[in-house]
Amino acid sequence: MSEKIVEHELTWHTSYWPLIGSVGVLFLAPLAFAFYFVYKMPMMSIISLGIGAPLTIISIAGWVKEGIEDEHGYSEGHSVWAMPIFIVAEATLFVGFFAAYWALRLTAPVWPPAGTPHEMPFAIPLIMTAILLSSSVTIHMAEKHLEEETGNKGGFLKWLIITIILGAAFLSLSAYEWSELMHEGFNIKTNIYSSVFFPLTGFHGSHVLVGIAMFVCILIPALAGKISEPFVKSASIYWHFVDIVWLFVVSQVYFW
């Protein structure tokens, strides 16, 4: 045993994915954005996306594979400690957004400002709330099944897939609602309310997307029988957080 550890530590560990992912992100976000919006070169922007997206995806896939197989022996269940710390950062990100929102709103002479549709959507956000809340329950169910003595993998997979579907439904409804609003002439440029509305809901939506991506990264290896429990647990903590943030978004941006 100790022999094995010593041999192990004789080598410098390496992983391809961090560097590849970073280069991917560089092309995917800053360069593609700047080509399109700053230098008005759509073609270059597409090329940049074409370089960045595959690199990023390959890196994520390779990373997940390495993580699940744990060839380095890194995994010691630290991620359930790390996720709450990360969530603090995420929370203050939203705090910044909300602070900007309330600063605008409380100093505005009239609210909502001119240009806002008389009837903001009412039913859809309620449905979306219901969907997201129930997805928190379903991911909890999935976890429960995993924790069972025997580790009920079938149950786990079932509830995980339901959660993914609920998340996707949430995003579709959000997209539908956006397109409706834009048809009515309410878009990101309309006024200070729309300036907040689209970035904030979009921003939250991107978190839902990240959550779904995490679940997919759990699902695929799980189908092959590989499950990392701490990873599932952290993803689920993250998902609950995204859920709670939505309650703030929906109450303050739609209904307040």
Binding site: P18, V25, W81, F86, A89, T92, V95, A103, K189
Partner: protein, 536 residues
Amino acid sequence: MSVASQALTAQSKFSLKEWIFTTDHKRVAILYLIGSFAAFFVAGIMAMLMRTELATVGPTITSNPTNYNVWLYFHGAAMILGYQIPSLTGFFANYYVPLMIGAKDVAFPRLNALSVWLYWMGIVLALLTFVIPDPPDIMWTGYPPYSIITPGNTAFYTFTVLLIGFSSIAGGVNFLTTIIRMRAPGITWNKLNIFIWCTMAAFVMQVIFVPILGTAVTLLSFDKYLGTHFFDANAGGTPLIYENLFWFYSHPAVYVILLPGVGLIYEIVATFARNRVFNYKGVVYGGIWGTVLLSGVVWGHHIYVSAIPSWLALIITFTTLLISIPVGLLVIGIVGTLYKGSIEFKTPMLYAVGFMFLFLIGGLTGIPNAMSAIYIHIHGTQWITGHFHYVMAVSVTTAIIGGTYYVWPKMTGKMYNETLGKLGFWLFFIGVNITFSLTMWLGYKGWPRRYYDYSQFPQFQGTQQIITAGSYIIFLGALVTLITWIHSLIWGEKAPQNPWGSKSLEWTHAPTPPPPGNYPEPLKLSEDWHPYGYGK
């Protein structure tokens, strides 16, 4: 030990693959080191260009003010985001934290590698400033509406901040988890090195405040490129939102820079005075965490005259002045550690002594800034430039260079030349005092910041030239330091295991340089072990 030497001989051949794809904290640290000193060098060259331009009234080396503005933008942004924060929370944190707490690596080695490479992508993006058309010219503060209406490429500013910011948050998550979870048995909270506490404090602030900066710069690009109206007075927005969000991060950021710097000074002083840290608990719980506690409630002292309400200005004046208390405790701790010490003035200690004086000047000149009424005159003048160069640029650079000298034998396995090291210090020390004391003086006389030209103040030209001369001396000092290091890498003698006689874990227990996995044998620490357990 034999295992270690085996490891070393096995690993002494250079392999590029093992460097750029590394997940080992010591190598990640060195990648940070290279990146941050590269940023220091390029941003320093920008400073030299600026100083040369200011040597005469009117155009000196460029007749286009935008060139000057781009240099200044790059200088400020790269010095803070590219050099100091990554050097302290990237290089030193990576090198020291696992070693000092007796761990084999950080909690998430791959995430660590991602941090360093995202940071490098930020550097690449920043360096593109020099080749793209319409480079950013918006100063490191990026205030709207100017940053929105300028033809300059504000998007690169936003993304540089976001990349390096994300790298920082990942680092924060990683290191906080590491420190909480991976301390070797026997290393309790009250036996942590001061540097570890400082790093923790710095990362707590990064995790809480970086996202606020992220929000601010994201909204900036939204306004500029997607047409939102957050900072647009015509549509009911206001630039004050940006100013508040920006400083809500950027004030704590100065303590993200200061605290690890102070932590390094503590390590150096304790080691070279062979003395226990004076009032350890007071320093940790009062000094370090007191600073963290106050860091979030003083942001307004950067915007007293930007029309924040008077009552807020008054509160902020008071809270800002209160910062002198925890910082004062940190200073007392350093000075107290000299008491009954056994001091040896090797190069790292020389830098630490330099720090004590430079920081005193820098910190005390922050007091006038803090007082809203006094601020009215000195805000936006070179007095401020003088203040923050003393307290940040110069003090923390002495901490960084001194700290680098201090780890040098451990990291490279080589000793350096003391005479050259000391020469570098004295040139640097003399240069910065000439440059930044006179800068401050001119600010008091009313010379504003960010001026390409000063034809309204022709009487200042003579002083400007002395300042410029001083900055050349600084450059020379840095150059000598660089030469010392290169000299050591090539001709340096082999370093012993513990050249300084330190009691800290990384010197007493880890081989020099440490192999993969750091500690070949499981650590066994006696009951009364302490990193500063001198003179029992």
